[in-house]
């Protein structure tokens, strides 16, 4: 396009702003993303600080207050052994979100590393892409289930019951979900590599490592961030699916998926046991997806120009 996209900024008085400020400006214009960010922020704050305000121990049973509906004493009601649902949902959210975020971080780390290496070094491209294909072809859910059976107890023994399972689930989700990111990053790196500023860095004599860290990585950050939001959402869903199938965290360890699994039998009797964790899973995933959508728009230079 020639004249239609009047993208050259006015030379006279360009407000001094970095690229990220620009992205943020565009992001703010995306209503869905802003609502998503608000909801996600709220959930995040709630699960981080909520347990400090709502101090009931989520594991504390109260046989005199079983299957309570919503009340002031128990805003989300109680379960069939009288544990407070609000406390459980908050505690479960900590785990679910921590799983989501950590698993995403693991998967991004692997995905970005493999993507950058494959995209940047031609020699590594073949083998690394074969590896990616191999992982893509591995049916994830069954292997996930098996791996959990396989390593659960070893890790439990070494890291304690909670940290062990957490580590395991996070690692497994991370290790089995990096492939899309790697592919996207690789593609992006391959185009970036042809961009003249990379050539310019080479002509300056910048070392390869620094070319990657200084020129390649910052520029693949936006696809990585978009995949990251999708990754968080996917990891939360995967964890809850595993828990739902009864194969994730053990029953005494509340996560949203686990709460949903335990509560599903009580769906008609105390709907709160399903609705609250279900709502939180859905809201979190929804808001994160909307954030991803907004980020994608905000970082897409074609859209940003408009």
């Amino acid at each position: 396009m020639t004249d239609a996209t009047a993208s050259a900024p006015v030379a006279a008085a360009p407000a001094h702003r970095s690229l990220w400020a620009d992205v943020w400006r565009q992001f703010r214009a995306h209503r869905g993303a802003m609502i998503g960010a608000g909801v996600f922020g709220f959930i995040l704050l709630a699960v981080i600080f909520g347990p400090m305000l709502w101090t009931i121990d989520p594991g504390e049973t109260n046989l005199r207050a079983r299957n309570q509906p919503m009340s002031w004493a128990h805003p989300f009601g109680t379960d069939n052994v009288g544990r407070d649902m609000l406390a459980q949902v908050l505690a479960g959210g900590r785990v679910s979100l921590a799983v989501g975020i950590t698993a995403m971080a693991v998967s991004m780390l692997i995905g970005a590393a493999i993507g950058v290496l494959a995209g940047y070094f031609r020699r590594l491209d073949g083998p690394l892409m074969r590896l990616t294909e191999l992982f893509l072809a591995l049916p994830i859910l069954p292997l996930l289930l098996v791996a959990i059976l396989l390593f659960r107890d070893t890790l439990r023994a070494n890291f304690g019951p909670e940290a062990g399972v957490f580590l395991l689930i996070v690692l497994i989700i991370g290790i089995t979900s990096w492939m899309q990111t790697a592919r996207i990053v690789r593609g992006e790196v391959q185009t970036l590599k042809e961009r003249e500023f990379v050539l310019a860095a080479q002509s300056i004599g910048t070392k390869e490592g620094r070319v990657i860290t200084r020129h390649i990585l910052p520029n693949v950050l936006s696809p990585i961030m978009v995949s990251a939001t999708i990754g968080i959402a996917a990891a939360i869903i995967t964890e809850s699916t595993l828990s739902f199938l009864g194969l994730g965290f053990p029953p005494d360890f509340p996560t949203w998926g686990r709460l949903l699994f335990d509560g599903k039998d009580f769906m008609t009797r105390s709907p709160g046991r399903v609705i609250w964790p279900g709502l939180f899973i859905s809201l979190t995933v929804l808001s994160v997806n909307f954030i991803g959508d907004g980020l994608r728009d905000a970082m897409d230079p074609r859209i940003r120009g408009r």
């Binding site: 396009m1 059976l149 869903i237 769906m267 859905s282």
Partner: protein, 337 residues
Amino acid sequence: MLRYAARRLLISIPTLLAISFIVFALLDLAPSDPTANLPLTIPPEVREKIRLSLGLGEPFIIRYFKWLEQFLINEPLAVLEQMTGLTIGDSENRLRVLSWATRSPVTDLIVERLPQTLWVVGMSYVVAVVIAVPLGVISAYRQYSLFDQIGTFISMLGFSIPTFFTGLLLIVIFSVWLGWLPSIYDTTHVVEDWDSFWFQVKQMAMPTMVLALANASQISRFMRASMLDNLTQDYVRTARAKGVRERTVVLLHVLRNSLIPVVTVIALGVPTIFGGAIVTEQIFRVNGIGALLITGIESNDIPLVQTLTFIFAILIVVFNLIADLLYGVLDPRIRYD
């Protein structure tokens, strides 16, 4: 193109072998015991005998190669024999992959389960595509319109709410409260007249919808993005400058180009049809492949899980290849040599 396909196929072979080894090894290493689910009243000597009778006495590598031979040679031959009625070689003494739980050939179990999975999951996929493509097209064409906003929100909802949640919700609403639809899928149901057809429709409705919602969400988002990419291309302006009707511009020029990536995405999703929808099948008791896998895992039926997992891997590899080739067929710019 042919040469490209051949090359891709050749590359897939080592990949598949590697996968077969990983699958076998992982499952074999899993601390699962085929007798763990038996009642505690069964004494240990008997358990040990059961284990030996399941072939657990041999070393790992031997079992791997045996399984590989059974899987790659014996099972295909057996399936072939069943389909054609011919007898090939020594079919009596051919060692097949036997399930630990049922002691029957694993492939027979899979063949038995395939129809319901193909029906329900396949139908949901078809429904998803049929819904998603127009949805994506309109959403993109009317970007930021109310339709687009609502469509985007619904499709977001579709992949934000896990299927187990929607599934349970539907059961409570339609089976328990309203009593309209059966909550348990009858795999033996045979469609022979209008009524039985109607029953089939009713029993497929919920699982199909749950899966279709999830799938349609993904596909429509892809479709929308792809349409948006293409709507701003120069050739669209050319088509308009030719005086072509707007509908033709969108439905012929833009859609044709936008479908290229979407079709490959759709092709990549096909293995999941064969793989079954583990959670949905479990919830609605559609005892298909996914449910088989879960039972296999729960009852430590390692040969069954190994075989299913590997078949699934093969399907993924094959459909990856098909997706690539489709790309070449649909996009004249791609020449694979």
